[in-house]
């Protein structure tokens, strides 16, 4: 069976800036791929290439088995896109938005009407069906945008930051909807800045930064690759923070992260208990009073920060 999305060596430049610099990724049919990266990493550019909005400079991209450059019409028939900035029409009602999209996907009037009603019910928007979109809350708007991506029951659904700017409740709703999509047999590619989201939804994760893939695997694999545990120490005195930081840097497997306010620092370590003993020994030698010590499994955030190690320069994709 061919993969839902198959991209090899995708390059896209804007003048001197290489937004995508040889990206490879595969979404096996019936799975969710999380495309993870900070702002400006190239996530949205990748989505635009996959959805035929942007022609890649180089590389081979197939979506639902069709080439995005030479068979773009077939690709468009097979995909549903839900955008980062909900591309719904403010001056139409919820129902009109879905009806319009249905007709443009080639549904007959009656079928488009029925599908619009069905999706409004599925996304709990029946009450708001005949209200203009500009009166919708952010969460409702996002649900409608997602509904719009599903009108034609596409084989491949592309979600560009589906939960950015949503409240926690709407975010959980969206996650639920994505799971249901996959249960129904769709393949999903979603981009996100939230590690938690990729952790919850994605069967596999691709981390990109500055247009390059910096890591790929399941979330467990990524966590394991970085360090087995996280050592966290709280000191009694603010003045001891530099000493703590120094010690953690010596014993840890990465740069320590310091929280001035809580007088706390943590670092990724490879062999937890042994390193813990070593760290305490060194702190004791420097007369640092330790209030609290703990070992955790690493969070995906740690992986992410380590992989995309750079200052946030506010560059946008």
């Amino acid at each position: 069976m061919t993969a839902a999305v198959e991209a090899r060596g995708v390059v896209k430049s804007y003048k001197a800036h290489r937004a995508l610099d040889g990206v490879d990724l595969t979404v096996p049919t019936g799975t969710v791929l999380g495309l993870l990266g900070p702002n400006g990493a190239g996530k949205t550019t990748m989505v635009r290439v996959l959805t035929t909005l942007l022609r890649p400079d180089a590389g081979d991209v197939r979506v639902a088995g069709y080439d995005v450059v030479t068979q773009s019409a077939d690709v468009r028939r097979s995909i549903g896109l839900s955008g980062q900035y909900a591309a719904v029409d403010e001056s139409l009602t919820g129902y009109e938005n879905l009806y319009l999209v249905g007709r443009l996907y080639g549904l007959k009037a009656a079928a488009a009407r029925a599908r619009a009603r069905e999706l409004l019910a599925l996304f709990r928007l029946e009450q708001a069906a005949s209200r203009l979109l500009r009166t919708y809350s952010g969460g409702m708007r996002r649900r409608l945008d997602l509904a719009g991506a599903l009108v034609a029951r596409p084989a491949v659904v592309v979600l560009d930051e589906p939960t950015t700017g949503l409240d926690p409740r709407s975010r959980l709703d969206t996650w639920e909807m994505v799971r249901r999509l996959v249960d129904d047999g769709a393949s999903v590619l979603l981009t996100t800045q939230y590690l938690e989201e990729a952790d919850h939804l994605a069967d596999s994760i691709v981390v990109i930064d500055r247009g390059r893939v910096v890591e790929r695997g399941t979330s467990d694999e990524l966590k394991a690759r970085v360090g087995s545990e996280r050592l966290e120490i709280v000191v009694a005195d603010h003045a001891d923070l530099p000493a703590l930081t120094r010690v953690l840097a010596e014993v840890g497997a990465a740069e320590p992260v310091v929280d001035e306010h809580l007088r706390r620092a943590h670092v990724l370590v490879h062999v937890g208990p042994k390193t813990l003993v070593e760290a305490l020994k060194r702190l004791d030698a420097q007369d640092v009073r330790v209030l609290d010590v703990s070992l955790h499994r690493p969070k995906l955030d740690d992986v992410f920060l380590m992989l995309t190690d750079r200052a946030d320069d506010g560059e946008d994709s």
Partner: protein, 266 residues
């Protein structure tokens, strides 16, 4: 469904969506309806007294009609650039539909707005004494000339809307060239009254041809205000009006379609 039928259905859907926007927006109704009424009354009565009273108001109407339709091309400019900015065009481009439908839908819905504006202007004209004095068939022909002209102007607007960096820039770019274009014509005063170079520009201005053709077809030619200048466009107003409208369509449809495909790459 054949490819052509799909383009037609999609074009109709886009036009339907645009017209819902018009119905739900006060600005559009104001610009399309209030503005022509205002111009008919202002020009008719502020300048009318000096320029010939009732006869001038009769002369004026064709000018206001053409001016109104020309300014309506700004709707295409603003509509397209706003849809671009808001991501609506991107949304459409990710759907299995042709760009031709997007552009045809836009220009057709703007044509519908122009028809309303045209009827409002004519009604207002009737109230202040303007009449159709030619045959019924000529009047139909006059409206046809006006519609084809409006459609052509809309495609110029489409190109401006697509190549403008923002809706704000598009709005000024869409309007700035229209003021001289509509005034340096036979719309408000005979082009023969203008000094040398301006007069030549006015004579060759396609708007003058449309205005003169419509005036002729409505039977609104007024002695003293319509002077045969003997120039080619003046003697062949109808032919020149059709020719220039069709030429605009022939040039700006492909240019706009190319611009539509290009905005993709941004």
């Amino acid at each position: 469904m054949t490819a052509v039928a799909k383009v037609a259905v999609d074009g109709w859907m886009i036009a339907w969506r645009n017209l819902l926007h018009v119905r739900r927006s006060v600005d559009w109704a104001f610009a399309a309806v209030v503005q022509p009424v205002m111009f008919v009354l202002l020009f008719g009565f502020v300048f009318g007294g000096l320029l010939g009273g009732a006869a001038y108001r009769e002369y004026l109407l064709a000018g206001i009609l053409v001016q109104t339709l020309a300014f309506n091309s700004a709707f295409t400019v603003i509509g397209l650039s706003t849809d671009l900015r808001k991501g609506f065009i991107d949304r459409l481009r990710s759907l299995p539909m042709s760009g031709v439908s997007v552009m045809v839908g836009r220009t057709l819905s703007d044509l519908a707005v122009s028809v309303v504006a045209m009827l409002v202007t004519c009604l207002c004209g009737l109230l202040i004494g303007w009449r159709v004095r030619g045959s019924f068939l000529d009047a139909v022909l006059a409206f046809l000339v006006l519609l084809v002209f409006a459609f052509a102007m809309s495609w110029i607007g489409a190109l401006i809307g697509l190549i403008s960096p923002s809706p704000e820039a598009a709005q000024s770019a869409g309007l700035i060239w229209l003021t001289p274009l509509t005034f340096v014509s036979s719309g408000f005063v005979p082009e023969e009254s203008m000094p040398g170079p301006l007069r030549v520009i006015a004579e060759w201005n396609p708007l003058t041809a449309v205005i003169n053709a419509v005036r002729g077809l409505f039977g609104n030619t007024v002695p003293g205000l319509d002077v045969a200048s003997g120039s080619w466009p003046d003697d062949h107003a109808s032919a020149y009006a059709w020719l220039s409208s069709l030429l605009i369509v022939a040039v700006f449809v492909p240019l706009s379609m190319r611009a539509y495909r290009r905005v993709a790459a941004r």
